[in-house]
């Protein structure tokens, strides 16, 4: 019951956050110089035409009214039309977002699968050779920009060793339409196309490693230090004094409380992960939202920018919702306090 309350609260809060985000971005995008109608029609169009389009687009209404209209569409899941292409932003996003989603989810899974055990073992065997080596590698991952790692990997695995493809999501000779979830790995499995699946995995490996490096380092460092923190707690000493075996003490009684800070930071870390994802996408020619978003910003394509930001924001909020819900599950203190106040 307390847990349900907690989840509902978080859910409502997410809606508020998204609403706030949309207001801020809308305002920023509207106050930057550049008349959307002028942009849509090009520099050569006559002023009357531009004014006419302004009225049509509702741009002469006061800003709050404009926002209300936009938000109305948003609530129905309508992101409007691109000023330049007159295409629906929704369909543009639907085309590009799944690729980004696939990359980011794969990164999260890889980062947890490597970072967490690394941190746990380093914390458990503090100051051992493994720990020192692990710390060095983790630090390298954190301080090296992901696009640099991307270039390095591309050079090494793609050009020197020639073992993995360095660009795109799928080899051009493969005919496949990812039309269920948009995620190649899942859709190819559903369709039973193992050749596509294998090819997609091979394409995914390098970008995922490049993007995950920083997060792996972050998770490993954090988990290590919270394992060490927790190992000094009275309740761990108690667990030892009551004769609970060391492996249970470490992997149950220490791991769960240690996971809390890691999980918390993972949610926050996610924003920079999305930012880096755009860079990695550019390096690997990954057909995600990056190039679409960059073009939209460069060309001042207002609705497209809003669309990219809102979808990214929604994604961010959703991941953080998942993190919060997991946190509430792992840490009773959070959900009990959360449901009381």
């Amino acid at each position: 019951m307390e847990y349900l309350f907690f989840v509902v609260r978080r859910l409502l809060w997410s809606v508020v956050v998204l609403l706030g985000l949309s207001i801020v971005i809308f305002t920023i995008a509207r106050v930057v110089p550049g008349d959307p109608a002028r942009i849509a029609l090009g520099p050569l169009a006559a002023q009357e035409q531009v004014d006419k389009l302004r009225t049509e687009m509702g741009l002469d209404a006061p800003l709050p009214v404009q926002y209300a209209r936009y938000a109305g569409g948003l609530l129905q899941g309508d992101l409007g039309r691109s000023l330049l292409t007159q295409q629906s932003v929704n369909s543009d996003v639907r085309q590009t977002f799944p690729a980004t989603l696939e990359l980011v989810l794969a990164t999260l899974i890889l980062a947890l699968a490597i970072g967490l055990p690394l941190g746990v073992l380093a914390g458990r065997y503090k100051d051992s050779l493994f720990d020192n080596l692990g710390r060095f590698v983790a630090l390298f991952g954190v301080v090296t920009p992901s696009f640099f790692i991307a270039l390095l990997l591309q050079l090494l695995a793609g050009y020197v060793l020639q073992i993995l493809p360095v660009s795109g999501r799928l080899s051009p000779n493969l005919e496949f339409e990812a039309n269920r979830t948009g995620l190649l790995l899942i859709d190819s499995l559903i369709a039973g196309r193992m050749d596509v699946f294998g090819d997609a995995v091979r394409h995914l490996i390098l970008p995922t490693i490049a993007l995950a490096a920083a997060t792996i380092g972050q998770i490993a460092r954090l988990t290590r230090s919270s394992m060490i923190d927790v190992s000094r707690k009275d309740y761990i000493e108690a667990s030892r004094a009551f004769g609970i075996p060391n492996r249970i003490t470490t992997f149950t009684y220490m791991l769960r409380p240690s996971f809390i800070p890691t999980l918390t930071v993972l949610g926050l870390e996610f924003a920079s992960l999305l930012g880096n994802a755009f860079l990695v996408e550019m390096v690997f020619g990954w057909p995600g939202m990056a190039s679409y978003g960059v073009r939209a910003i460069m060309q001042n394509d207002f609705n497209a920018v809003m669309g990219v930001v809102m979808v990214t924001g929604l994604f961010f909020v959703l991941i953080n919702l998942v993190v919060d819900v997991l946190l509430g599950y792992v840490d009773p203190r959070i959900r009990i306090k959360g449901s009381q106040s």
Partner: protein, 332 residues
């Protein structure tokens, strides 16, 4: 193994720590006995090494940085320090158990109370080759919760620590120590983190349980009121060694070591809580302790003699003081 031998007997225990400032020789030859069925107190000011002593006995001292450089800890006739790790582990939480001091930090915040308590039973069962299913283990946990006078055991079993008051949590901590019917209970200042009334209840509960279950108790505290109320025999510790030991009543009537005298002198008479403001100076630095008697820089009676470490001199039968003032020749 004669039955009148003490259940626990610590002999010349020395423990050092590796620190940034060099080696800290904290325990400097601690001797103490806990006879069967008696309640023994270990008292001394903060930092004198009470918890280190207790952790060494319980085997929870982190090594490194700590190192046991010398000594014996005989439990029921066997030396804990030299016995195989597996045998020693079998004693933990079963024959000898421990009550932790701070109810806010001694329970794991992310596991239900029942889970934590049942796990203690499960693993000690396994070490002792006892077969019990979940239901039987839970029954034992509920039984112990009742023993520590917690009503509504079922609810507590399913609760997380944060949902319980400090006093309830302290009772649970006591209960944890009792789950496997220990013979020796070591308590490190139970209840000092609680308000005075609750602390009093906790101490009374401990006292009752020790009597009911016929336990031997080693009670660590810096509260002389607690010592007087709850122990039969008391060891006074200063800077890593026992400076005086005596039957409790005798100690209060006839304190013999200058440190003990100073301690007793600064007990406010009515509420029984001790403060040490009355003794000038502070504990020595363990990385560079004074030679001889470690108390001599603070001692009003210090002489050149004190640069040599005094042995424990018998003041009366069963009462010793490690101070040259009590050297037999000095009385002659």
């Amino acid at each position: 193994m004669p039955d009148d031998a003490p259940l626990l007997s610590v002999r010349d225990l020395r423990v050092s720590f590796r620190t940034f400032d060099g080696q800290a020789d904290v325990l400097q030859g601690v001797n103490l006995d806990v006879p069967r069925g008696t309640r023994v107190g270990l008292v001394g000011e903060s930092g004198c090494g009470k918890s280190v002593t207790m952790k060494t006995i319980m085997g929870t001292l982190a090594t490194p940085p700590a190192r046991v450089t010398h000594g014996q800890i005989m439990f029921d006739g066997q030396d804990l320090l030299t016995m195989p790790a597996a045998r020693r582990n079998r004693l933990k939480g079963t024959d000898m158990s421990m009550v932790f001091q701070d109810p806010t930090t001694s329970l794991n915040p992310v596991f239900r109370v029942g889970h934590q308590m049942e796990d203690i039973v499960r693993w000690s069962d396994r070490r002792r080759g006892i077969q019990r299913n979940h239901k039987a283990r839970k029954a034992r946990v509920l039984e112990v919760l009742e023993m520590v006078r917690l009503a509504d055991g079922e609810r507590i079993y399913d609760a997380f620590p944060i949902q319980l008051s400090g006093g309830m949590r302290q009772r649970i901590i006591i209960g944890m120590a009792l789950l496997n019917e220990p013979r020796l209970l070591i308590a490190d200042e139970p209840g000092t983190a609680l308000d005075v009334t609750t602390q009093d209840e906790i101490l009374r509960l401990m006292d009752d349980l020790v009597r009911e279950e016929g336990l031997s108790l080693l009670m660590i505290t810096h509260n002389l009121g607690v010592v007087r109320q709850m122990t039969d025999h008391v060891y006074v510790m200063y800077a890593g060694s026992v400076v005086e030991d005596s039957p409790t009543a005798e100690l209060f009537d006839n304190p013999s070591h200058p440190y003990t005298k100073a301690l007793l002198a600064c007990v406010p008479k009515l509420d029984g809580t001790a403060t040490y403001e009355g003794i000038g100076g502070s504990l020595p630095d363990y990385t560079d302790p004074p030679a001889g008697c470690r108390f001599h820089p603070r001692c009003p009676h210090a002489t050149d003699r004190c640069l040599t470490r005094p042995p424990a001199f018998t003041v009366r039968p069963g009462h010793t003081a490690a101070c040259w003032l009590h050297e037999p020749e000095a009385h002659a």
